[in-house]
């Protein structure tokens, strides 16, 4: 097996993209640093240039001015095919090659990079297992024999195939039904725990960005960066009205969904009343449970068998 590659840092340095004949730039003077191994979600309304900004990294869109550096190297200094083969690329419509089997699709980049057949095949099987498609069942299927969710899993495996230090994902789950989407979002998080890539993830869905992103970059019309911060801080302290409106009036509730009960330091229950909840429950769901039951507290069932209490006052305190 090849040695696992380290994730890399990405720097946007006054990156600007103007299309000829259009007054407003698509991406306007974007400057931000995405630390190695983190997921950065690019969000914003359509016309905000989030996909354009992402494509500056693998040069599917060429910079007008400024620079984008991957691991300290300007993308302009690299040959574009070499650059792209080192970056995993996932798009909403997946774009599986319909004439190739699942295994052939996944092995595309390893083959371009000249891996041996055995190496490529071992890697393919390993990746199909990683994305929860048992290699034995799926290896020789064609895209037309897969469901939408299965296709995107293959798309993810294909992007990970050559173990790129960096992944670009353009609304990868946007075309899936809500149940499949949630499942794949959670699997991406699980896979990211394991592989630790630097990921740029484009979405128009702020909830998805909050769930997936270590950091969120919000772009407004004209490709201007409105705020670049952690989900917690974007929800707690939106930089301006635009960001506040974009994250929604329910941003208090969204903040609650960032925290799970077992992450809190809670008082022992001592016979307190209220619905009994698991430790993995989010604060948001805990609040919902209180409202449902007309209770002012919930009891948390700890893994060690202890019971602790979360009160409504404590939630308000946490949001402050």
């Amino acid at each position: 097996m090849r040695e696992r590659r380290q994730a890399v840092e990405i720097v946007f340095d006054h990156a600007t993209k103007r299309y000829p004949g259009r007054a407003a730039p698509a991406v306007d003077d974007l400057t931000m640093t995405i630390p190695a191994g983190e997921v950065c979600c690019l969000v914003g309304p359509s016309g905000g240039g989030k996909t354009t900004a992402m494509k500056l990294v693998n040069r599917l869109v060429e910079l007008t001015s400024g620079d984008v550096r991957v691991d300290g190297q300007s993308v302009r200094s690299l040959d574009e095919t070499t650059l792209r083969r080192g970056i995993g690329y996932v798009i909403q419509q997946v774009g599986l090659f319909p004439h190739m089997t699942v295994a052939e699709n996944v092995a595309t980049v390893p083959k371009l990079l000249g891996w041996s057949k055995r190496e490529a095949q071992e890697r393919t099987d390993e990746l199909l297992d990683l994305v929860d498609l048992p290699a034995r069942d799926y290896r020789s299927r064609y895209a037309s024999q897969l469901s939408g969710g299965e296709r995107q899993r293959v798309g993810l495996a294909r992007a990970l195939a050559a173990d790129p230090p960096l992944m670009l994902m353009d609304e990868p789950f946007g075309a899936l039904d809500p149940i499949t989407r949630t499942r794949l979002q959670n699997e991406l998080l699980r896979i990211q725990e394991e592989v630790r890539k630097t990921i740029i993830f484009v979405t128009h869905d702020i909830d998805e960005a909050i769930l997936i992103g270590d950091r969120i970059a919000i772009l407004r019309e004209g490709g201007v960066l409105a705020q670049y911060d952690t989900p917690e801080r974007i929800l707690a302290e939106p930089a301006d009205d635009f960001v506040a409106r974009f994250v929604g009036a329910d941003r208090g509730l969204k903040r609650l969904s960032l925290t799970r009960l077992d992450e809190l330091d809670l008082e022992p229950a001592n016979g307190a009343a209220g619905p009994l909840l698991e430790g993995e429950t989010t604060l948001r769901d805990a609040l919902s449970a209180m409202l449902n039951d007309g209770a002012r507290s919930v009891v948390v069932d700890g893994r060690d068998g202890t019971r602790r209490v979360l009160t409504l006052d404590r939630i308000t305190e946490l949001l402050r």
């Binding site: 693998n58 599917l60 574009e80 095919t81 070499t82 650059l83 792209r84 083969r85 080192g86 970056i87 690329y89 798009i91 909403q92 419509q93 997946v94 774009g95 599986l96 090659f97 319909p98 004439h99 190739m100 595309t108 980049v109 371009l112 299927r141 064609y142 895209a143 037309s144 024999q145 798309g155 294909r158 670009l168």
Partner: protein, 235 residues
Amino acid sequence: MAQPVIPDFGEASECVSENRLFCPDWVRDNWDPVLQPALVQHIQLTLIAVGFGFVISLGAALAAHRLRFVERPFAWVSAVIYTIPSLALFQLLVPITGLTVTTVEIALVGYTLLILFRNTLAGLRAVPPEVLEAARGMGLTAGQTLWRVELPLAVPAIIAGLRIAVVSTIALATVAAFVVSRGLGGPILGALRLDFRTEIIAAGALAVGLAVLADVLLVLMQRLATPWAASRRSA
């Protein structure tokens, strides 16, 4: 009823001398000297015509796929050729290339261009944009995208074009007998002049059988070459 003049190789059977609808004994006796060579020539005429037509059309379609301005002139020229009646086209060519196989092949190649060009280009253009974007994003070069993605995906359309081209060339190649005595058109034309029914039917049936066989072979070829399309059909 006037008695037709039957080619006499010594002892004509009763069936032949009465010019009945179909005489198996004549076919048996004339397979080696007449029908089989004509059939082989017919296959040669067809293969050469479709082969050259395919190479020219593929080249033109690839050019038109990259450079849009190539499409119109080539489509226009091949469409004009296609509208010229075959006998007229032979007449136009004979003063230049004479009563030769070349004349026949130029005409036959000309008739394949329109369908092969159109189908190949349509096949190349029907590759879904997201597939092309994925290919670019993964770092395939333009050439790799063409050979590994676009052409394989165009195969069903290309073979569909080949099927039409092959069948129509087999039919058209019989007319070649007006220019040069090659192919199944020779026996058919000769027998028409003599009103010899067995030979017309035998040579005609061979042409039809050849066309059907070629079509079946091409369908089988497509099934083998594009298993992914088969699974799509059944999916």
